[in-house]
Symmetry: C2
Amino acid sequence: METIGRYSYEQYLKMVEDFHGSQAPGLILGGVMVDYAISRMPPGVLFDALCETAACLPDAIQLLTPCTTGNGWLKVVDLGLFALSLYDKYTGQGVRIFVDPEKLKGWTEIFNWLYKLKPKKEQDKALLLAQMEQAGRAILSERKVMIKDQYLGKTSKGAIANCPQCGEPYPKRDGALCLSCQGGSPYGKE
Amino acid sequence: METIGRYSYEQYLKMVEDFHGSQAPGLILGGVMVDYAISRMPPGVLFDALCETAACLPDAIQLLTPCTTGNGWLKVVDLGLFALSLYDKYTGQGVRIFVDPEKLKGWTEIFNWLYKLKPKKEQDKALLLAQMEQAGRAILSERKVMIKDQYLGKTSKGAIANCPQCGEPYPKRDGALCLSCQGGSPYGKE
């Protein structure tokens, strides 16, 4: 494995460390997965991304594709599965890349990591990353997918008004009060 | 406004374009907000971030703080409010920065943008960005917050097993099948 996306492996490691804060194994394997997925998209197709776990993998997508949390092209549906898909943002046709359990034989440290068989401090991280680099796409599989309609397109927030309780601008479609004042506030008493 | 975080304003604009795909107004204002929030955190405090909208603002947080979607230090609670908080990841004490409607008088293009009073193509983007740069923190307010316990810390996924239906590794705590096979799959028929 010499490149990940349009970067050298070393460049990618540096980007991971800068953005994510550490060379997390999930971003190394994730990088290989995203690179694989991109290679399966027909040239010129504008694609969105769907990530099936909230852990690590979203950052590999954000680093290697135009899709980010804030621009709405990356959606995280946290199913706890280490898998992602890229799909045509208009038709929903795409490809899903996942770690294939049947292909993990012999890749002991990757297996131990994925199935959480060793506490983090007992993991041999150097061996784990080396196995990931060596394995590349050999432990992955792909399948075609069609994304459900509900994930396609962006929904407009519609008209904005000041919430009569907190006074801040909120989407009127949410009701008479903003969602925070309706009980959704993440803040408690100080 | 000469700097945003540890970057010059021009450097930040370039980062926004590279990461987010365009110089979206929400990331310009968002950059000012994140910079403001960081300035209120005591030195040395390890902080997490909570973003109250899914649109734009999460990317300003990801660019300017160590908090990302994939490392779990950024949480998006989509209340449709253009506000964010940074908080001590152990105690939950923090600061919330929000656009203050009472301070918007005179900032006509920012007002029009925030309340969506003009279709995007009728916005004067140059004026909007100029007003945001000129206004800086003058249109923002802050308040102390205490984050609810449920947002503190990371929850472990616990033991991993292969889903008896799809065969992929999933967190056993989710039940007899993985969440995707339980009906949560984002994919439909091809």
